[in-house]
């Protein structure tokens, strides 16, 4: 599929809004979701650490 130019590619034959609206939102969700999961795991690890060493609580 030869688009000819980058402009043609982004325009998607006039349907740019619909195609990119779909892909961008999907990509966003597929970046945010794993980040949230990773953050959740790190926080769980931190909470477990503070359980294991309560005497290390310095403000």
């Amino acid at each position: 599929m030869n688009w000819g130019s980058a402009d043609n590619f982004f325009a998607m034959g006039g349907y740019g809004l619909y195609v990119w609206g779909s892909y961008v939102v999907t990509a966003l969700l597929m970046v945010v979701e794993p980040l949230l999961a990773i953050h959740r795991r790190r926080r769980a690890l931190r909470d477990a650490a503070s359980d294991a060493r309560p005497e290390d609580h310095e403000s």
Partner: protein, 252 residues
């Protein structure tokens, strides 16, 4: 998805195993997506009837399949957890739910963005989209129920019951929505019916499905590991892990 029955009953083993698998799944997901998207945008030709907008199909259909498939996966592990008192299986079920819900949402969103140019409105109450909306409600119901119950055991079991009841009802709901749709038929063909797809389109779609699958594994494993740490807090292996992790960072 699991290696042996023992990986079930042992959260630390599962934690260690998934720790190795997650990066592998990410690599797979990225590589497969790259191939799939390249094929979808640079190999697959323009569609005769719909022009370029059909290219949404490369994420719409895989997301829809994942949404449906993950619900069954979730119900399966929840049921195993309930039947065998295997709390690890219940934890995995809880890890699957948000990912399944997000894929279902993506299917709806991309369905809407495809529907607008193809049928003129942002939403079409056709059988498939409406069923997916109800599937999203089923996911949200499960998530809401398990989050609302404080006691983990009660939450696991109640969630399992709800997930199984939901899974049994999905075919009934789909059938009734199809019936409802044909009665009030205005638009004819479902927008996801692409009767004659070029081979390259089909191939790209399949590769994207595998890419989504790898992505799902990666995220679900990560979330499952988080849930395990939360639920097994206080256990010896968790403390060891946590201390190891924190000693690598700031030094007193």
């Amino acid at each position: 998805m699991k290696l042996t029955l023992y990986t079930f009953s042992s959260p630390p083993k599962y934690y260690a195993l998934t720790g190795v698998l997650v990066p592998v799944c990410w690599v797979l997901a990225i590589v497969l997506s790259a191939i799939g998207l390249w094929m979808g945008f640079f190999v697959a030709p323009t569609d005769a009837t719909q022009g370029e907008v059909y290219r949404v199909i490369f994420i719409h259909v895989p997301a829809a399949w994942m949404g449906m498939f993950l619900y069954l996966v979730m119900a399966f592990w929840a049921a195993i957890g309930w039947a065998f008192h295997a709390r690890l299986a219940s934890m995995v079920a809880r890890a699957v739910a948000p990912t399944g819900a997000i894929f279902t949402f993506i299917a709806l969103w991309t369905g809407a963005f495809w529907g607008k140019p193809a049928w003129g409105t942002w939403w079409v109450w056709d059988a498939r989209l409406t069923s997916f909306l109800i599937l999203l409600f089923l996911y949200l119901g499960y998530i809401a129920l398990v989050e609302a119950i404080d006691d983990p055991r009660r939450a696991d079991q109640a969630g399992a019951l709800l997930a199984v009841v939901g899974a049994v009802n999905v075919p009934i709901i789909y059938f009734s929505v199809k019936w409802w749709n044909t009665l009030h038929q205005g638009a004819t063909v479902s927008i996801t019916a692409a009767p004659k797809m070029a081979t390259t389109m089909l191939q790209a779609m399949l590769i994207m499905t595998f890419a989504f699958w790898a992505y799902a594994f990666a995220v679900i494993f990560t979330r499952a590991r988080a849930i395990i740490l939360e639920r097994e807090r206080g256990a010896g292996w968790v403390n060891q892990l946590a201390l190891k992790g924190s000693s690598r960072s700031a030094k007193p």
